[in-house]
């Protein structure tokens, strides 16, 4: 009979102190995004104009057919939220990961080689911090139009400096480790040293930073969608759903309210998960 080895029991033990509510929310998010066509009762883009502006099911004129009500074209709010989860999850995965890849490469190079590489990187990240993100997003939308790809590129372009700075700081420490010195004396190339010896020491920080940045990425994407310069209509995104409902705020408040709750819960769940991960993996990143 096979017994579970130390790895399995350690993994289970780690899960014991998992924050339950955030984990549930994130789990629901992933399930909603992946199985959207199966979960959503209606198509997110096609509305039944006979059922416009229906209130949520628990209110007087609501109907059990539309749990969270419908919008002004008759699209089911709940379905739009479920499908909107796809966009948010996509952004949550791609943007911080892209930022991490670019930022780690740049930060590690700057920290390891020092000198001009370091100076150049620091100036460049300083510059990125000084540029107003929303204006650039609007500019890009006006000149090139808006698309999912552009949104991801834009968010990643403004999201990589925090990675670069943190990785650079840690690389500066790691490159003075004995094992790094030994590797260099033994003749290892710089690339090999960075990849095989320094990178493993960075992974904890990178993972934590990725999780912490997800919330910011989701918020940024929702702001862009709200302003109309994000992922273009008629794609169902949470931000644009909130924007859609603004005109009907006094009469059909549910159109704006529920997608916003979805954004808020998701970002909060990711923030909590990130804090939990950080406390476990790399408490030095603590700022509170």
């Amino acid at each position: 009979m096979a017994t579970s080895g130390p790895f399995v029991s350690r993994a289970l033990h780690a899960l014991r102190r998992l924050p339950v509510l955030p984990a549930l929310i994130l789990g629901a998010l992933v399930v909603a995004a992946v199985f959207a066509p199966l979960i959503a009762p209606y198509h997110p883009l096609e509305g039944d104009t006979g059922e416009r502006n229906l209130p949520p099911a628990w209110l007087a004129e609501g109907s059990a057919r539309h749990l969270l009500g419908t919008d002004y074209i008759g699209r089911d709010v709940f379905s739009r939220i479920v499908f909107g989860a796809r966009v948010s999850l996509l952004v949550a995965f791609t943007v911080p990961t892209a930022g991490a890849v670019i930022g780690t490469a740049a930060g590690a190079a700057a920290g390891y080689f020092g000198g001009i590489t370091d100076e150049a990187l620091m100036r460049f990240t300083d510059f990125t911090y000084g540029v107003p993100f929303i204006m650039v997003a609007i500019l890009v939308a006006v000149v090139f139009g808006s698309s999912l790809f552009l949104v991801i590129v834009l968010l990643a372009a403004f999201g990589w400096p925090p990675f670069a700075r943190q990785v650079r700081a840690e690389t500066l420490v790691l490159r003075n480790m004995d094992y790094v010195h030994s590797a260099r004396i033994a003749g290892a190339s710089s690339l090999r040293v960075m990849y095989r010896h320094i990178l493993p020491g960075l992974t904890n920080t990178i993972v934590v930073l990725i999780t912490l940045r997800v919330g910011a990425a989701i918020l940024a994407e929702s702001v862009l969608s709200f302003l109309g310069v994000g992922i273009p209509a008629p794609q169902a995104t949470w931000g644009s759903s909130v924007a859609d409902g603004r005109v009907y705020l006094t009469s059909a408040w549910w159109i704006s309210l529920f997608p916003g709750i979805a954004i808020f819960l998701t970002v909060m769940a990711y923030n909590f998960a990130g804090d939990w991960l950080r406390d476990r993996l790399d408490p030095r990143l603590r700022q509170i």
Binding site: L139, V242, L249
Partner: protein
């Protein structure tokens, strides 16, 4: 100190240069630049088309075009906004006051509410007040700013009727937009002040003050607080820049007639001259406030000047 100032000045110039290159570069990389200066209704004759080409200097090398564009911009000529039919700079200067007012009030709220709350939260650690303050902070940092505004309007304007829903008027119109803009910043301020206070309260000199017999509030405010001020102060100095950005969303939600809403309108109308001018202006505001912030920080903390 003067070297520090020069360095920050150089940084400011660098950012402005970079932004101008970014804006110009974009205008020249999406097909014929003349299209950006036309709205959907105008169809210029081939004569006008050629004249536009000459004005933009399209027959000359790109570097010369850039120089032409910068030269005009420095003289205040930012073309003609497509939706406003005026020089964008004129519109911007008209509307800037409204945004400045909003940002100013929000800054005041952030500091006046955030700092004491952070201090109290640290001092009364583990109590209900602490949890409430931290809940307030967590909420503020996770909530989408546009949705916060909408929810506040729903509660206070639509349902309770205490405050107006939008536009600028008397002080009642200021409340909801300022609170919406300030809340996330306030949340950050509470967190930073709290953690700074917690760090300081563990310091030996605080134990010394207590041992000396200084009263509790004396220990907190005269000894601990003063030395915990640097992180909150640093944070406060970057707040103005963040408010300028946040104003784009908040002004849109509340129909506040400032430059943030102007930016959203420019986006909606595909108004390149306006958006280009706004980008330069925003960058300028950003850079100016960062510069002032850095100088203030340098004056407060001598260690920064020599780094």
């Amino acid at each position: 100190m003067s070297r520090f100032v020069v360095r920050r000045l150089a940084y400011a110039v660098l950012v402005m240069l970079g932004v101008s290159l970014l804006v110009f570069g974009m205008s020249r990389s999406a097909g014929d630049p003349r299209n950006l200066y036309l709205n959907e209704y105008s169809s210029p004759s081939s004569e006008d088309w050629k004249i536009m080409g000459e004005e933009l200097g399209l027959d000359k090398p790109v570097v010369v075009q850039y120089a032409l564009w910068v030269g005009r911009a420095l003289k205040g000529d930012m073309g003609r906004s497509l939706s406003q039919a005026k020089n964008p700079l004129t519109v911007i200067t008209e509307r800037f006051g409204a945004t400045a007012q909003l940002a100013g009030v929000s800054f005041f709220i952030t500091v006046v509410v955030g700092v004491p709350l952070g201090v109290l939260s640290a001092v009364q650690r583990g109590t209900i007040l602490d949890y409430l303050a931290r809940g307030f902070a967590i909420f503020g940092q996770a909530v989408p700013p546009f949705w916060l505004g909408i929810v506040l309007v729903l509660i206070f304007a639509v349902n309770l009727g205490w405050l107006p829903t939008s536009r600028r008027g008397d002080w009642t119109n200021l409340v909801l937009p300022a609170v919406t803009l300030a809340w996330p910043a306030c949340a950050g301020m509470v967190r930073i002040t709290r953690s700074a206070m917690l760090d300081v309260m563990d310091a030996p000199f605080v134990a010394m003050a207590r041992a000396k017999g200084v009263g509790r509030s004396g220990v907190i405010w005269k000894h601990a607080f003063r030395n915990a001020l640097i992180p909150p102060l640093t944070y406060a100095t970057i707040l103005i820049a963040n408010f300028i950005i946040g104003a784009v969303v908040v002004e849109t939600v509340f129909a506040w007639p400032g430059i943030g809403r102007l930016a959203a309108e420019g986006a909606f109308n595909n108004d390149f001259p306006l958006v280009a001018a706004l980008s330069i202006f925003f960058a300028f505001a950003f850079v100016t406030s960062s510069f002032v912030a850095d100088i203030a920080y340098g004056l407060l903390d001598p260690r920064v000047r020599v780094s």
